[in-house]
């Protein structure tokens, strides 16, 4: 193989690998950025020895759209449409996180009616997002049918979003201090139908077709094990962290939007088919979480029916201009803890600095650790199990 390494090494040098780093029997394999299973434009350089991966190095930035620079040039409410485009599979969660951060700066507390709608939307979005995550994960591993079933059910949730705010993917819905639109008449009934169907059809189907499937279990249960220490050191959050056995959920630990009023469990990985923290555990957590989200939605719908209707734009500030200060606010987005660090200088109507701590960014930074010593085919299983969305990594 030594004759074949001349060309790859020239490309390797540009990214910091030296000729000594690559052994005589090894080669560099560039995976992506146009690879269907990298969930976007992610490129991974692998040093491989046959089928075994010795070293993996992710390259990101192909989807960099200068989110943080744009934020400095628009006013506070103007940032919200940009946040939608971070994690475009779960836009409701992104704008909610940003709205919460700026509301802290401005000391605005939205009415319980608004908060309940926010909870419903966030949890519907969580189900929709996990449908894509688990569905595409199955597809990466060769199971095509569950993906179609899950997208069919996600469609119903998107219909409700479209009915409410006119958009199917990028909603601009959670405004600072309120919402862009009130829910339409018949919203509660439609949501109840979705939840009932989810409990009766989607979830059992998902468990029977994919998660309980022998092939799926064999393929994922012993792959990509992330220990508790590694998960915390690399700031893995959300289902990735809980898959490693840490029962930490911001909705329980630091409740926002009145999450303390709802009854739900925090599922954690159990390592039931292999070591704890494997690809299977992370997906298992996602699947159980969907069930818990459905529970929260049912309770929130009950609350919404009893609550007095208020104007959802009542507390939306005419001109958002916070006093000098800074805030770091986190919320539990479907992919993990999404943090916004917002600095206000007290003189301008646009943020002085916005930094997004994206859960996918931190998950991807642990990738090289987990990918060491696995087979090339398992790299596919690994990327999908972290459920990364490149829009959020590259911002």
């Amino acid at each position: 193989m030594s004759a074949g390494i001349t060309r790859p090494v020239t490309s390797a040098e540009s990214v910091g690998w030296r000729i000594d780093d690559i052994g005589p029997d090894e080669m560099i394999l560039s995976m992506g950025p146009q690879h269907p299973s990298t969930h976007g434009v992610l490129r991974i350089e692998l040093i491989t020895d046959g089928e075994l991966v010795r070293e993996a190095r992710p390259h990101i930035g192909y989807l960099h759209r200068c989110f943080e620079k744009h934020c400095e040039n628009v006013d506070y409410p103007g940032v919200i449409p940009y946040t939608d485009r971070l994690d475009y599979v779960a836009s409701m969660g992104n704008s909610l996180g940003y709205a919460l951060a700026v509301e802290k700066l401005l000391a605005i507390e939205p009415s319980p009616y608004v908060q309940t709608i926010r909870v419903i939307m966030a949890e519907l979005q969580r189900i929709a997002s996990h449908c894509v995550a688990v569905g595409t994960y199955g597809m990466d591993l060769g199971a095509f049918t569950p993906f179609l079933h899950l997208l069919r059910d996600r469609e119903k949730i998107l219909d409700v979003f479209e009915w409410t705010c006119g958009a199917r993917l990028l909603y601009n819905y959670n405004w600072i201090g309120g919402l862009s639109h009130d829910v339409p008449d018949g919203f509660v009934r439609a949501c109840r139908e979705i939840v009932a169907e989810f409990d009766k059809v989607t979830w059992p189907e998902l468990v029977n077709l994919l998660i309980g499937n022998r092939i799926f279990i064999e393929r994922t249960a012993k792959v990509g094990v992330v220990s508790r220490e590694l998960a915390i050191s690399y700031d893995l959050t959300g289902p990735n962290l809980r898959g490693s056995g840490v029962a930490y959920d911001l909705r329980k630990a630091e409740p926002y939007c009145g999450y303390e009023n709802y009854e739900f469990a925090v599922p954690v990985g159990e390592g039931r088919h292999g070591p704890l923290g494997s690809c299977f555990d992370r997906n298992w957590v996602r699947v159980v979480e969907m069930k818990e989200s459905a529970r929260i939605i049912s309770q929130a719908l009950d609350r919404l029916e009893k609550l007095e209707k208020t104007d959802v734009r009542e507390k939306v500030p005419k001109r958002a201009k916070p006093a000098k200060g800074e805030v770091f606010a986190r919320s539990e987005a479907p992919r993990g803890n999404l943090g916004y660090y917002v600095v206000a200088d007290g003189t301008a109507v646009n943020p002085y600095r916005v930094k997004v701590k994206s859960p996918c960014f931190t998950a991807m930074s642990a990738f090289h650790h987990v990918a060491r010593g696995v087979m090339i085919a398992d790299i596919i299983a690994l990327i999908g199990s972290f459920d990364v969305v490149l829009g959020e990594i590259d911002r």
Partner: protein, 195 residues
């Protein structure tokens, strides 16, 4: 522990190198002397009463108009999965030739966060294992999140910022892209622009 207690503990250990707590808005923080940040970070993680084992976020902020002294700040937001408390550290660095010791050894995630701060602000993290650009292309010039940033006119020979004349024509609704780009005399050296 409350932020005030954490601050007292840090000041007992590091003396005058830790200044604080400074409470602005809702998040209290201390300012640490730049040279000692790696030590303070390791202490924060190892001390059994603190166990700040999670780096939530590492951000850089450019403050060229600060009254006392124009500077950049690096902010470390920390969290403990043992005691469930939060805290923040800050270091102040000069705007030119900023150098900060890396905290990569303490929190693995700092590796990518520090690369991002280097990429967008030009802060050099000393002792970092792999300090390369992360979001921008390898051959990018400058650090765009600095407040004195101006957009370049060209990138690799391609015009990326429209001239005033081009912007004017675009505003008038004339076709933008093919016309002005192709016949712009300033762009004549670009291969293929003459066709």
């Amino acid at each position: 522990m409350t932020p005030a207690e954490i601050c007292t503990k840090l000041q007992e250990k590091f003396g005058a190198d830790v200044v604080g707590p400074l409470v602005e808005a809702a998040s209290p923080f201390v300012v640490v002397k730049t040279e000692r940040i790696a030590e303070v970070a390791a202490f924060c993680k190892a001390d059994p009463a603190l166990v700040l084992d999670n780096l939530l976020c590492l951000s850089a902020v450019d403050l060229p108009k600060e009254k006392d002294q124009p500077r950049m700040e690096v902010v470390y937001h920390l969290f403990s999965y043992t005691h469930f408390h939060r805290f923040a550290l800050k270091v102040h660095v000069p705007r030119e030739g900023a150098r900060v010791p890396t905290v990569e050894a303490t929190w693995g995630v700092a590796n990518w966060h520090e690369r991002e701060a280097y990429d967008l602000f030009g802060i050099v993290f000393e002792g970092h294992s792999d300090l390369r650009r992360i979001l921008l292309p390898d051959d990018w010039q400058g650090h765009p999140l600095r407040k004195d940033w101006t957009d370049p006119d060209f990138y690799n020979g391609m015009r990326v910022k429209p001239t005033e004349q081009m912007a004017e024509r675009a505003l008038k609704g004339e076709e933008f892209g093919t016309g002005p780009f192709r016949h712009d005399p300033e762009n004549a050296h670009v291969p293929g622009s003459q066709s």
